[in-house]
């Protein structure tokens, strides 16, 4: 599903984020990306939907070499990859319903299908009753659930979550994790960068540790492995 071969990333300001990443992620896997701050976790996740382009190396997503993807085709890659951000990235002027519907309008789904599908995912993340609220009227946990709803509404093959629980209290984090686990159980590949030892050690999945821009550990059903 996702392959990276010798991927390097040096930012314009000279900071080296990744230096030689090789990884193969299969369809339906749930992968934690762990490691200290500044190790390159975020860069790693952002490479997959081309928010960041590698300086060197190749990346295949769904058997497409995304380095060679034309700028015009990038939106179509992003429609196959649902992304959940630590800071939610919701559109502030749109209601919860409209935020989720936006992702479907982008792919020009028929309005009747949009209505039923949006309400379906909002139900799945437990926010059906907040459909008409605006993002700033919601708690952090609720906003994150909206952003998950938006990420999955188009049935993406891959969901990427960059520290989705980073700003949330433990109880709320559990709720978020249950939703992500559920999505994964339905066959979606989930890649999640996280700092949470509790989560990694409780919901057992593949763990990839990145340090200093390289993968230092890759275990099926691994532990967090760092002291907090």
């Amino acid at each position: 599903m996702i392959q990276m071969k010798d991927v390097h990333k040096v930012y314009d300001n000279g900071v080296t984020a990744l230096s030689g990443i090789n990884i193969d992620i299969k369809r339906g896997e749930f992968v934690y990306i762990v490691g200290p701050s500044g190790a390159g976790k975020s860069t790693f996740t952002r490479l997959i939907f081309r928010e960041v382009k590698p300086t060197q190396g190749t990346i295949y997503v769904n058997s497409v070499n995304i380095n060679e993807l034309k700028e015009k085709k990038v939106p179509f890659l992003r429609r196959d990859v649902g992304v959940v951000y630590q800071d939610f990235k919701l559109l502030p002027k749109l209601t919860v319903y409209e935020n989720v519907a936006f992702a479907m309008e982008v792919i020009e789904s028929p309005p009747t299908i949009i209505r039923t599908r949006v309400m379906e995912v909002l139900d799945q993340v437990g926010l059906k009753h907040k459909a008409r609220s605006f993002p700033d009227e919601l708690s952090g946990g609720e906003q994150q659930r909206v952003s998950i709803a938006r990420a999955i509404v188009n049935h993406p093959k891959i969901v990427i979550a960059d520290e989705p629980t980073g700003n949330l209290d433990p109880d709320t984090s559990w709720g978020i994790m249950k939703i992500l686990q559920e999505i994964n159980d339905r066959g979606t590949t989930v890649i999640m960068a996280t700092h949470s030892k509790e989560i990694v050690n409780t919901f057992k999945n593949r763990v990839v540790a990145i340090e200093g821009g390289v993968i230092v550990r890759d275990e099926q059903r691994g532990d967090y492995g760092y002291e907090v």
């Binding site: 939106p75 179509f76 990235k89 559109l91 936006f102 992702a103 309008e105 028929p110 938006r150």
Partner: protein, 305 residues
């Protein structure tokens, strides 16, 4: 898939963009008010200036069109000579009309134009010292001097009068006035474009983050651009409402109140219909075009995420 389905989807998406654009006007509250305010102020300036310039231009035209050439006919010329002269004048290139005016007509005109003092001239009715005259008008007032030169050389012509010296200076002055006016109008329109598109740019800059998010969700550039285009169009159109009202009421007042108090013949304002409507249309067009242009240009900057 057949083409019909694709067209149907496009149309639906277009409706969606229209809806989103209108919605955005409402939800951006103060930003919308600020943009419309800037558009309104600028367009009022443009409207007033255009009205003034176009009317001055019209007055210059009026003055120029009043220029006529009086061809004084030799008193010795007979009936036939006069008719031949008339035909010959018509033949000259650039002559629009040559109207014969007998010396009695000329005297009457003179008496009339003098008002009460004219009575003194009535004694000449018995022994009229004036000439028969051909009143010549040219197609283009600027040809006056050249036509007059040709008339002077003709047979049975005693004298040609067209306001020598004054007419040349008048045309010269009008030429400069028109050029200056045109330059000022162009300058003002550029200023308007700059001011309006700048305001719109600021409202969109405030939303550059939103544009980034839309891109990350997989929206194509076109998809993002359209609602902004609609919004820019609406800002321009809404901003031109007050200027248009100003044009209609202001010009109505000018035409019906002010113009009645001015007694110079050449001060004649362009008629309310259609001028007020034409001016409004120009204002609306400037507002709409700049609105669309300003928003599209500013969005383009943030689409490169």
């Amino acid at each position: 898939m057949n083409n019909e389905v694709i067209t149907a989807m496009k149309f639906r998406t277009l409706l969606r963009h229209l809806r989103e654009g209108v919605k955005s006007i409402g939800r951006n509250g103060w930003m919308t008010v600020a943009s419309i305010g800037a558009v309104t102020t600028t367009l009022i300036l443009v409207a007033v200036f255009l009205a003034v310039m176009l009317n001055l231009n019209q007055m210059a035209d009026n003055i120029e069109n009043d220029v006529q050439i009086d061809v004084m006919i030799e008193p010795t010329a007979g009936q036939e000579d006069i008719q031949n002269l008339g035909k010959a004048i018509q033949q000259i290139a650039g002559v629009e009309s040559a109207v014969f005016s007998s010396k009695d007509d000329e005297l009457n005109k003179l008496i009339e134009s003098m008002g009460e003092d004219g009575e003194a001239w009535e004694m000449f009715e018995q022994d009229n010292p004036l000439n028969h005259v051909y009143i010549v008008k040219t197609n283009d007032p600027k040809d006056t001097v050249t036509v007059a030169k040709k008339l002077e050389g003709m047979e049975n012509v005693q004298k040609v009068v067209y306001g020598q010296g004054v007419v040349e200076r008048l045309f010269e002055f009008n030429k400069y006035a028109r050029t200056v006016g045109l330059v000022l109008i162009i300058g003002l329109i550029f200023t308007a474009i700059f001011l309006i598109s700048n305001t719109i740019k600021i409202t969109i800059m405030a939303r550059s983050k939103e544009i980034g998010i839309m891109k990350l969700v997989g929206a194509t550039n076109g998809f993002i651009r359209w609602p902004f285009l609609v919004e820019g169009l609406l800002l321009g159109v809404l901003g031109s409402i007050i200027p248009i009202l100003v044009v209609f009421t202001g010009y109505y007042y000018l035409e019906n109140v002010v113009s009645k108090q001015i007694r110079y013949k050449f001060v004649e304002f362009l008629p309310y219909t259609p001028f007020a409507f034409q001016l409004s249309l120009i204002i609306l067009a400037i507002g709409a075009v700049i609105g669309v242009w300003g928003s599209v240009m500013s969005v383009r900057k943030y689409l490169k995420v």
